[in-house]
């Protein structure tokens, strides 16, 4: 087990190294930030001075190494627009995004797994027809349009739910969380639902396909012959055997919801890091983009690592490979 964890950590570090190199190379090739930092009428001496000062006259590798050295100390430069450390800006907004992404995933799991199980166990039911066409709609819906439609109906026409912001938050262990207050919950509902739609559809399809395969296996027939109740066969014995693909998808999709929160956050003006990075992209605030990418990459690597650990816990055969 220990060797397995060590090997996975080594792989994660390698991936992070590759990501930092690629991101830095793209930024390096994408042009000179000097033009944005200095006024247009700056003299050539001023430009050269600034370039020397920022270390931009050094070769690619030297620049990358100093970037890496700073990044390892949590320093990725200051935001051009906010004049604050970029990492600090991102980390300040991370709880809002994580709250949104986690709520969306919980919603997706609560809706998706029971719906998928039902569709697999009772394939002829009218409810199954609805669930399956619903999931096809779910993967075909443009997420941003869905969000706008919700705003149109519930905020503009009915006036029931607020369309932007996070509302009132309460402090929990020093972190501001919205779902602890009623107002925060009302603000969270539409963005989380919008973000969850795609995931519900994916989970339904996966659970159904997995269950249908498992239910044909001999051990299920044996359990039935033994006289176990259908509920126990499905919920205990069959469900256990589709957990590996389900856990993988849930893990991977949590990463995707964090990234996709960019879209949801810009529709609902949710003050998370996705909204921050979209604004940073439009104002060419390079340190913030860079810090966002590396922080998000770190999150993905961590999530993938956790998924692998869960695997080896669920299925000991994987550990041995």
């Amino acid at each position: 087990m220990f060797a397995f964890i060590l090997r996975r950590i080594y792989q994660s570090v390698l991936v992070l190294f590759c990501v930092s190199l690629v991101v830095f190379a793209i930024l390096y090739l994408s042009g000179d930030p000097i033009q944005m930092l200095l006024p247009a009428d700056a003299s050539q001496e001023q430009i050269d001075e600034m370039r020397r000062h920022l270390g931009l006259d050094e070769p690619f590798w030297a620049q990358y190494l100093s970037f890496l050295r700073n990044a390892l100390q949590g320093d990725m430069g200051r935001s051009f627009t906010f004049n604050q450390p970029a990492v600090k800006l991102i980390l300040e907004r991370a709880p809002a995004t994580l709250e949104l992404a986690v709520s969306a995933m919980i919603l997706a799991i609560l809706l998706g797994i029971p719906a998928g199980l039902f569709a697999a166990v009772k394939p002829k039911s009218w409810l199954t027809q609805i669930i399956m066409s619903g999931s096809l709609f779910g993967i075909s819906l443009p997420v941003f349009w869905m969000g706008i439609m919700l705003i149109m109906v519930f905020s503009v026409f009915l006036g029931w739910l607020p369309s932007s912001g996070r509302g009132q938050t309460a402090s929990f262990g020093g972190i501001q969380l919205g779902f602890l207050t009623w107002d925060g919950c009302k603000h969270l509902l539409m963005p989380a639902f919008t973000l969850a739609i795609h995931q519900v559809a994916m989970i339904v399809r996966l659970v159904r396909a997995g269950m249908m395969e498992v239910m044909l296996q001999d051990y299920i027939k044996f359990l039935r012959a033994k006289g176990l109740s259908e509920r126990r066969v499905v919920l205990v014995h069959a469900l256990k055997n589709i957990m590996i693909p389900v856990v993988t998808i849930i893990g991977l999709q949590t990463g995707y919801t964090i990234a996709f929160a960019i879209v949801t956050e810009s529709i609902f003006a949710w003050p998370g890091m996705g909204k921050l990075v979209i604004d940073a992209i439009h104002s060419l605030d390079r340190p913030v983009i860079l810090a966002y990418l590396l922080v998000v990459a770190l999150m993905f690597v961590f999530i993938n690592f956790m998924v692998d650990l869960t695997y080896s816990f669920l299925d000991p055969r994987i550990r041995l490979k």
């Binding site: 096809l136 075909s140 819906l141 443009p142 149109m152 439009h282």
Partner: protein, 292 residues
């Protein structure tokens, strides 16, 4: 595939109402996009046809059921929404199809090469694919577009850079099983060069799964383009795709002009739904593993 097999597949395809519905929707919307200049009452790109007094008109279909300009209302610049949607559909489908063709080309060749050569080439290409797959497509495309700026050609390349992985994996897996077969050994023994074997012997035999993946991925490519354009990082404002039109509609939503965002989004959903239904059905028919 010969004529007889084609007819047999068609009669199997016909059995599913969802598949037929998908085929119908897809054909209808592709035709609408192709014939946009003939179908649209006004040309949304012609600045001489834009008048400010026409801006934000309520859809005329609400009280008069007739095929005319402004039947789906107009946007803030006085553009007929119906015409704008037809032209937007054209751009969305163009980007979807072009990026699918490009990524299928790159991905298939990379997968074929990796699978056939094996060894270091294989490890390098597939490791790259693995690392890329551990990051969401939207993030990668977003980074490319944000550093590169808007443009139809650029977004096609950005989406292809994201999607090649899926074709590469499929092509590699099929190549690995094909390369053990006798016809490859035969070609090697008469001295055919490796690139020639890959392209003229192996490639035709791995096309079926590639085509299936392609149908499913077109829908994804269209959605990805729409999302990026919605965020203002896709097509330029002068050539709005459906996603860009929704973005425009979002800005006037709070003043009650719902039609500017509702109709383009509806068109987008229908086209993606149609292609998804069609793709699902094709996968069921062409995938021999599901036939038992």
């Amino acid at each position: 595939m010969n004529w007889h097999a084609l007819r047999e597949s068609w009669s199997e395809f016909r059995e599913s109402p969802a598949g037929l519905c998908g085929l119908f929707l897809t054909t209808l919307l592709f035709l609408a996009a192709l014939l946009a200049p003939l179908l649209s009452p006004l040309n949304p790109y012609d600045l001489e046809q834009l008048f400010l007094e026409n801006s934000l008109k309520v859809p005329s279909l609400l009280d008069n059921w007739a095929y005319e300009s402004f039947m789906l209302g107009s946007d803030g610049q006085g553009r007929c929404m119906y015409s704008a949607i037809l032209y937007g559909l054209r751009i969305s489908l163009y980007v979807g199809v072009a990026s699918t063709l490009l990524s299928a080309l790159i991905g298939t060749l990379a997968g074929l090469w990796a699978g056939y050569q094996g060894g270091r080439t294989d490890t390098l290409i597939m490791r790259l694919a693995d690392i890329q797959l551990s990051f969401p497509a939207i993030l990668i495309a977003l980074v490319i577009m944000s550093l590169w700026g808007q443009g139809v050609g650029k977004i096609i390349i950005a989406i292809s850079a994201v999607n090649w992985v899926f074709y590469a994996r499929t092509a590699r897996a099929s190549t690995l099983s094909e390369k053990e077969k006798d016809y490859v050994d035969a070609a090697i023994s008469i001295g055919v060069s490796a690139p020639a074997i890959m392209l003229s012997e192996v490639l035709p035999n791995i096309m079926a799964p590639i085509i299936v993946i392609g149908t499913v991925r077109i829908a994804n490519a269209i959605l990805l383009e729409a999302t990026l354009s919605f965020l203002g990082l896709g097509v330029p404002v002068t050539e709005p795709s459906l996603g860009a039109l929704v973005n425009e509609g979002y800005r006037v939503l709070f003043s009650g002009q719902w039609w500017v965002s509702v109709f383009p989004g509806l068109a987008l959903m229908l086209v993606v739904l149609g292609i998804n239904q069609l793709g699902d059905r094709l996968r069921d028919i062409l995938n021999p593993r599901l036939k038992r």
